[in-house]
Symmetry: C3
Subunit: 205 residues, 3 copies
């Protein structure tokens, strides 16, 4: 039950929306990378750009939170929300990096399902950020993100079982696992974002 002075600085919502928008771009780039014959070097460059834009949004949030007297919700929560959005992008970018670094051509079937989960999480998160301001009707968002994380977790385990089923040599398993693990990390990071939003809403209500 914190005292609430007006005006509350609302730029935060725009910055969070920006940050989530970059994650939509990132998940789309991951999907493009899986298309045969895609220009992976170009995709990696675009991913790097998306990551830079994300870093800028995060820095803008941090500076603003430190220079604003009245924030729309707790400073600590604003930090945590910003950095958890950041974590998603870092994992997405690392996945693309590993594909290029290891010059992985044919990626095993099933990866596209994980990327599909990521795209749905990204879209939902981007739709939700502007609605943080109203602080209402957000429960469906975090329930669905958590459901998608469970789906992603099952897909991840299936991928691991596939990698270890003997059809890949050990070095190949290690390389592919690096990619798959980053996708799993990104899916988990989206759930972390949703958990933070849930906590913020519970506090405010």
């Amino acid at each position: 039950m914190r005292l609430r002075f007006t005006p509350v600085d609302t730029t935060f919502y725009d910055l969070f929306a920006q940050s989530a928008g970059n994650l939509v771009d990132g998940s789309r780039l991951l999907a493009e990378m899986l298309v045969d014959g895609s220009d992976r070097a170009a995709i990696a460059r675009q991913m790097k750009d998306a990551e830079h834009r994300g870093d800028e949004a995060t820095h803008a949030i941090v500076r603003r939170v430190n220079s604003t007297f009245v924030t729309p919700f707790d400073r600590e929560d604003i930090y945590r929300l910003a950095s958890s959005l950041d974590d998603v992008m870092d994992a997405m970018e690392a996945a693309v990096d590993y594909v290029l670094l290891y010059e992985l051509d044919g990626l095993p079937e099933g990866i596209e399902d994980m990327v599909d989960v990521l795209q749905r999480q990204a879209d939902l998160t981007a739709e939700t950020m502007p609605r943080l301001r109203a602080m209402r009707d957000l429960e469906d968002y975090w329930i669905e993100i958590n459901r998608l994380e469970n789906v992603g977790d099952q897909l991840y385990r299936k991928m691991l079982a596939k990698l270890f089923n003997g059809s890949y040599d050990a070095l190949q398993v290690m390389k592919l696992r690096d990619v798959v693990e980053q996708l799993e990390d990104a899916i988990d990071a989206f759930e972390h974002v949703a958990n933070i939003v849930e906590q913020i809403v519970v506090k405010e209500s």
Copy 2:
């Protein structure tokens, strides 16, 4: 030196005790899994149940901390304690999952010693949670947990040396390492719980 209003909500202690009780169940299930001929699928289901109970306890703590005006100690510390207990369970469950996922039959000798450390940490933590209320005589607890973590660390290194001594092929090493690493993570997570308890006590004293 925070002002202290009465009554302080004491349900937190019960919830922490519940959460730690689930870790006792989890460590017991890990020990059962190592017994030859154990029904691993059944054990994995029971572990999943224990994890769900743990998640519920954590959620109950989070909701209560957000809806309670006077908490027995700092909100942030309550969050951190709850989520660090959660981390232990996640690592325990992941260990069991990997054993099933990889259909690992004979686990290398030495793993049972790591699980034994986990059981002792779990029992000690469960005994201690109800005593958080008195905030007294907790030093022996965190000293012993830290000692057990050092023991576990030595066991972990011995396991790694064994996995890499040439008697396992690379894929097998990767699979077994996943299991062993989760046990090590669980042991570390218990130490993290103890560190948080220590900080809380120091603050309150």
Copy 3:
């Protein structure tokens, strides 16, 4: 805009300087370990000593922050700064441990470049900690640490590409990767320290 009572306890700066000093020792020990014919067991013992000194500094900081009424900056930030310095040491020590544990003799060329980055980050961090007190002219510090982290990241990727280029068998790749990953973690942890310092400065300004 926190109220500022005098006197502010300034012991914190000395303790942070001590902690950073241990990281200079640690990075030097890593460099020695790479010299052919170095006494690695002795180096590991010295690294363990440096880590213990680091733990003591961290504990001193935690106890002081909890027993001091007026801290030079936010309690939470002091905790985070202390534990992020701690993370650097843990990663450095783990790297040395893996080299001994796996009895790795010839380490691949390129590792010395990563250690060089670590030494430069450590020196710069140690010079900077005492200057936290003045809270001025610290921007060059975090810009350079971030630049060094980018250099380290490139070196890490080159090392990974080298490990996976087919000239090492899978078990050897796993062992060497453990070492290289810890070096990368230490380099990242230095960046994390710098990010926390930046946030503290922005808050105070």
